[in-house]
Subunit: 461 residues, 2 copies
């Protein structure tokens, strides 16, 4: 076992070394070379994509230690993004590249769309009440703890508004991390996964309202009930509209477009069209685009694509199967049917393979490790993180007759949503640099430590 | 037949109308809505991707009239990009979106990578000498005609340097259009396709040299043989290196990476890694990135991926096949083997479905139809275009015992390469606005009229 670990470590060092050497050489060549004038050079972005994808795959060695690949991607991103602290600024341009940032956001949209496609709307509805209970507890408890307990206790002497924002930042749930862990381990269909996914969507709505309320309190000193109702109303109209209208519209649209073309390109266009339009609309409402992408995946059912051409290999199998006696005929028909049904998911998969690792490595890269260097802030942040974990963990108790630990820890990662709250608070002048660093560290801790814990719980389950 | 055409027309109008309406409504909503502060809004780019993909698929109706889909994509792009002439500026932001521009370039890289994967390096070598002959004639004849005949004759009174650049702009070959037509019609494996692909790669090297020579003549008044040799040397080292070293390195790298992980994600990473690194290196040398992508596709052979896990469905088929007697067993093994072998191409296909239409629609959008409005320039441009077509067409005569018309017309489209020459000439002050417009119209004509002609010739073949 220890030789295996050693071999993995040597391999990793070797390949990271080669990677760094190649990038160095190539960039030296770039300084000396001359790209054709007049052409916008996209070359460096192409290279960054390769660097990210290869790093992600090297990091997937972590799977041999029983950890989900997503943890490896986050950690390798963390390393690449913080090499600058050791004076290596080679990878700094990645963080500043707007195209990488776009591809990363596109990646998490595709991930949640995939998760939606693999989920079933009826199954989601079944766990709906439990998701709602988990979401409400998972928002109310951390908010109250942050605002009334941990803020005044660990960060005494700040204005109440700062505690309000700290509480708000503790309410967020970043569904991307949890969904990816469940997906990495092939557990998207267990009830715990469905409860967490549903609760994360509801959390996004609740978070939107909390953000509106605390922002209004800070800027206006009062909350307008009308304003909050409008936000809540829009979010509910979007979600209910997406699910209800989407369920009726998707077969109609699939049918209509199949009259123009029944090829694989049209299938892809409809699937991506749903994902991107729903993401767009969600963002317009103020929700996270990934909530829209998840809803799009939920309403698109593979059966809607029955008017489209089957993949050619499925037809070949059918043809051969029909010459055979039972049970071989039935078995081969089953394989070919499965191949046709899963075709939309198979089509999205390669796009996810390209874009999803960009999201997680890039997320890791944007973590600024230097925030951990101030011992006083670090200590406070550890305290806040304990509350952040505990506050979400108790929400699992409302999940009913399932593995409550799994649901509770599934709600823990804060990801980018917590950072958005902190950023807004800082822009309003309420969140000081000190509180901001505390929130950043809390986000790092809840995001990085959840995947191994979830993975352990899932294996024990 | 005429009712069919009518129905297609009505459908198209209907769907374009709906599309425009939806975009209008959505954009009105955008003005009124409020995106969450602090998050970089990627929403409009997501929507543009959907608009481009749906437009491309609507334009694929042109296939029902026997035309290749790429023509539809170019034409719908032309329409969307020039609606501003009718006062509709709805789609103008697409042209200015740097992320769409990046995705478009990424798209043509993926297209040429696919074409390379479908091509076989040994087969390419077989037609090598004929490709070389076609390329040389296809560069020398249009260059001499442009410089010495059509320039002085149709555009009298300009300095010789302007004629030199006009000639240079006539030498370019845009392989993207031709490759796509052959691909759309499933004819990438006929000898004519291979000759044209090979000639286009050589053309890119020759074009690089011509550009260096005419630029040196204009700026220095003389050509340094040393400078030209360096450019030629670099290009040859890259191409020979890519093909020779790539052929040996690709199985080694595939083997090495398969030790880290044998999953589909690693397969994808290696394939994309080759495509993007080769594109990057080609651009550093001064060649078109697509030349690198094509070379990457050529050296990557599906057999190198034999150490990787087979797709699960292939294993299911093998398992069932092994229970059956011959010839069923053999037939099913054949299907499953094919599924495993083609797996890399299948993985790249969805990425191409997403990105390739963006390239062609975007290319169409960047065409500025108002250049056609000046009758004098239009007439001169028509004359230049006739020479542009004739000059490339004669190169087909060197193609040996194949359909010479097909090779000749395959070399005709100038695409973006001709525009790059014109742009550089204009930036050097040699190419006037008038000559620039003439070149732009020549590029439009050779690019738009080639697909239907090639498609007609291919069907007659």
């Amino acid at each position: 076992m220890s030789t295996k670990v050693l071999r993995i470590a040597v391999y990793t060092l070797l390949v990271v070394g080669v990677l760094m050497f190649v990038t160095q050489v190539v960039f030296a060549a770039e300084d000396g070379g001359h790209a054709t004038e007049g052409v916008h050079s996209i070359a460096s972005t192409l290279l960054w994509i390769v660097v990210i994808l290869i790093s992600a795959k090297l990091a997937s060695l972590i799977e041999k230690a029983g950890q989900p690949a997503v943890l490896g991607e986050l950690v390798i991103g963390l390393i690449l993004g913080n090499l600058v602290l050791l004076g290596i600024s080679l990878f700094e341009p990645i963080k500043a590249d707007p195209i990488i940032a776009f591809l990363s956001e596109f990646g998490v949209i595709i991930l949640l769309f995939q998760v939606g496609l693999e989920s079933n709307i009826k199954e989601m509805m079944k766990v709906g009440p439990r998701s709602l209970a988990v979401a409400i507890i998972g928002v109310v408890v951390p908010f109250l703890l942050g605002w009334l307990v941990v803020g005044p206790w660990l960060l005494p002497g700040l204005p109440t508004n700062a505690y309000l924002f700290l509480g708000a930042a503790l309410t967020a749930t970043s569904v991307g991390i949890t969904a990816r862990v469940f997906k990495d381990l092939g557990k998207l269909n267990i009830p715990e996964a469905k409860i967490v996914l549903g609760a994360a969507v509801i959390d996004d709505v609740l978070g939107l309202i909390i953000l509106a309320v605390v922002s209004a309190l800070v800027t206006l000193g009062a909350v307008s009930l009308g304003g909050v109702s409008v936000i809540l109303g829009k979010a509910i109209v979007f979600l209910v509209g997406a699910v209800v209208i989407g369920q009726y519209a998707s077969p109609l649209l699939c049918n209509m477009f199949s009259r123009i073309h029944t090829g694989v390109g049209m299938k892809m266009t409809i699937a991506l069209g749903f994902a991107l339009v729903f993401s767009y609309l969600a963002e317009q409402i103020g929700l996270a685009p990934i909530v829209g992408a998840f809803a799009a995946g939920l309403v698109l059912d593979p059966v809607h694509f029955r008017f489209f051409r089957k993949p050619q290999v499925a037809n070949e199998i059918f043809e051969e199967a029909d010459k055979l006696p039972e049970p071989h005929k039935k078995k081969l028909h089953h394989i070919a049917d499965h191949l046709s049904d899963k075709h939309v998911e198979e089509l999205i998969e390669p796009i996810a393979l390209l874009l999803v690792p960009i999201f997680f490595v890039y997320t890791g890269m944007t973590v600024r490790l230097e925030t951990l260097f101030d011992p006083k802030i670090l200590l406070v942040a550890l305290g806040v993180s304990v509350i952040a974990v505990a506050g979400k963990y108790v929400s699992g108790l409302a999940a009913g007759n399932v593995n409550k630990h799994l649901v509770g820890f599934g709600m823990v990662p804060r990801g980018e949503v917590g950072l958005i709250f902190a950023t807004i608070g800082r822009s309003l002048g309420v969140v000081s640099e000190e509180v901001f660093s505390v929130i950043v560290i809390m986000v790092i801790i809840t995001t990085l430590f959840t995947p191994p814990i979830l993975s352990m719980l899932l294996k024990r389950n």
